[in-house]
């Protein structure tokens, strides 16, 4: 059991009497996250363990307890600013903590969740959409995918397969565990799935803390074969990646990455990365944003030793789910662009991100250009009415956006 807090007692004692004037505590939080005891049983506020004077007091905001109602969503979406010709509407509401989405072959939309422990199915019948909770009680079942009639769900340390799911939405079969050689760390252990043409999944493994020398089982991306349960290690030096996609032009894997916290409001930048060969190292924990050696963990390494990002996306924008756009509905120059959901900040005094961007980039990672597709979910310096966290293309070429704050899925379409 950790006891990291005694250090602060005396300082807090002085601060409490002056609470109106100086806030709750003068001391900064600092945790030693270098030991398995920390990884396995992190303190409640493990993500606050590297507090600085400048960023002190920032913490993830608590979202609404109930999903935003359909009427309220419609009112909120009127405030979203879109690129010309685009339109946003509510696709489905009442989906608590909605995360990654996947289409079933028969048109079912599957949606994972964060703390809600659920996986949902959105079905359409007689033009009406219905949301069903098909799985309950999973640990952070954020990532979902669909292959060969089966639903795959990743829940921290297990990749589960539910066969023939679309014919059994009311009574899903018991899952088959197809891969579980994964650490059980919950901190940064929530994952998304991205399948390639061979039916193998790219799966990210985040470190169970903000910054430090990571356990050897994490800070990496693996390519997992659900048929054999074998995995290849494809990338190292990756912090918290929650989203990626396979490039339809080349078959290469690209992924978003959330950079470390507690340096400043504007450093370091979150990243878009591209794996061009097996075993590339992307810098964590030694180097951030391609050019910023970590103040403590650079340990003599130079940024030039590591693969730089394709694009720095901005500090604390929290890039999550992303998809290459392959549809015909959007303007022609959207073809093969990356459409990316930014979840938005918590470790920043004025939140940013919380929007959808598109990135045009060459297959080799050259000439990246970013443009905002939809924004306006940030309602104040530190508040939201929604937080986009995943993108999925629909058959007609429109895109769906998952929002875990509002518990909803939106549809963005285009007409000339």
């Amino acid at each position: 059991m950790h006891k990291p807090l005694g250090l602060f007692a005396t300082v807090c004692a002085a601060a409490l009497g002056l609470a109106f004037a100086v806030g709750p505590a003068a001391a900064l939080k600092s945790y030693d996250s270098s030991k398995p005891s920390f990884w396995k049983n992190p303190p409640p506020d493990w993500f606050l363990g590297d507090e600085t004077d400048a960023q002190k007091g920032l913490a993830p905001p608590a979202g609404p307890a109930t999903p935003t109602s359909f009427d309220e969503l419609n009112a909120d979406l009127k405030k979203i600013k879109l690129a010309p010709g685009f339109k946003i509407e509510v696709y489905a509401s009442g989906i608590p903590e909605a995360r990654q989405m996947a289409w079933g072959d028969k048109g079912t939309l599957f949606v994972g969740s964060f703390g809600a422990t659920n996986v949902y199915a959105v079905t359409e019948k007689d033009g009406k959409r219905e949301v069903k909770t098909i799985l309950k009680g999973l640990t952070m079942p954020t990532g979902v995918a669909f292959e060969n009639g089966a639903l795959y769900v990743v829940a921290i340390d297990k990749l589960l397969r539910y066969d023939d799911i679309e014919d059994h939405l009311d009574k899903p079969p018991a899952p088959v565990v197809v891969y579980d050689d994964m650490p059980s760390y919950v901190a940064h252990g929530w994952k998304y799935l991205a399948a390639d043409k061979d039916g193998k999944f790219y799966i990210p493994f985040g470190p169970p803390f903000n910054i430090g020398i990571p356990p050897t089982s994490v800070a990496q991306i693996r390519r997992v074969d659900p048929k054999t349960g074998l995995a290849e290690l494809v990338a190292l030096g990756v912090r918290n990646s929650v989203g990626g996609d396979v490039d339809p032009r080349t078959g290469d894997y690209w992924f978003s990455e959330n950079a470390r916290d507690w340096i400043s409001d504007d450093l370091p930048s979150d990243k878009l990365n591209h794996i061009s060969h097996l075993g590339e190292h992307f810098g964590y924990p030694y180097c951030h944003q391609g050019d910023l050696p970590d103040p403590k963990f650079a340990m003599g390494h130079k940024c030039s030793e590591f693969t730089p990002p394709v694009l720095n996306l901005g500090a604390h924008v929290a890039p999550l789910g992303m998809k290459f756009y392959t549809g015909d509905m959007f303007p022609a120059d959207y073809k093969n662009n990356i459409i990316l959901a930014e979840h938005g900040s918590w470790n920043r005094h004025n939140y940013q991100g919380g929007r959808i961007v598109r990135i045009a980039v060459d297959p080799d990672g050259k000439n990246p250009k970013q443009e905002v597709l939809a924004e306006g979910w940030i309602t104040g310096p530190q508040d939201y009415f929604g937080r986009p966290d995943d993108i999925l293309q629909a058959k007609d070429g429109s895109i769906l956006v998952a929002d875990d704050w509002a518990g909803a899925v939106y549809r963005i379409s285009y007409a000339k």
Binding site: C12, A62, P96
Partner: protein
């Protein structure tokens, strides 16, 4: 204002407290609908004004709107198991939960007049533990609750004991990345008694 003065003033000023007890989270509930529902289903145990007379039943008045809503959601989805509250919460729609959160958050908090502290040593021990575990980080400098964190000041002592023990045994879920489960994991029964004694005696309107 000193804490002692605050308690004295607070005891006399329950009506005025209504004005200052604004919840930190601007909820979207309807107060009138919340009141109607509260009288129908909550009042028998929690009191119509959110002041509980029943051992083990918490005061709800003046609590954080979002905290109240999350608890009802946890009762309804079974993540906080309770025969009584589970049954009741199963009858609630999302709108009911929004309304009830807004209603109880709008009520003047329970404000027990100052009485002699029968165990000042326990108060001191509790205060030190509360500081050591940095409860104020989530619950606010004066423990009035904010966002998804509960109001602790002037809560029933017996209920605080129950709540901390429930978190410690993971009998109830914790909002905010499991914060309460972990914060209570190292507390002994004596620690819980001390923390509860200290918090229950803090002023409702400092």
């Amino acid at each position: 204002m000193s804490l002692v003065t605050a308690i004295k003033l607070g005891a006399a000023a329950a009506a005025a407290a209504f004005l200052v007890a604004s919840p930190a989270f601007a909820g979207k509930g309807d107060l009138d609908k919340g009141r109607a529902k509260a009288i129908e289903i909550c009042a028998p145990c929690h009191g119509e004004n959110g002041w509980s007379d029943a051992p083990g039943v918490p005061n709800l008045a003046g609590n954080a709107d979002l905290f109240l809503q999350w608890q009802l959601v946890y009762f309804r989805n079974g993540r906080r198991p309770s025969d009584v509250m589970g049954t009741i919460a199963n009858l609630l729609s999302d709108a009911d939960i929004n309304n009830l959160g807004a209603y109880f958050a709008s009520l003047p908090p329970v404000n027990i007049p100052e009485t002699p502290d029968k165990n000042p040593q326990l108060t001191e021990t509790g205060k030190a533990l509360v500081q050591q575990h940095r409860c104020a980080n989530c619950h606010g400098d004066n423990f009035l609750g904010m966002r998804a964190a509960a109001r602790l000041a002037n809560q029933r002592e017996d209920y605080l004991v129950k709540a901390l023990a429930d978190y410690r045994s993971a009998a109830r879920p914790s909002a905010g990345v499991g914060a309460m489960i972990e914060a209570t994991a190292s507390l002994s029964d004596d620690d819980i008694a001390a923390v509860s004694h200290y918090l229950a005696r803090l002023p409702a309107n400092p």
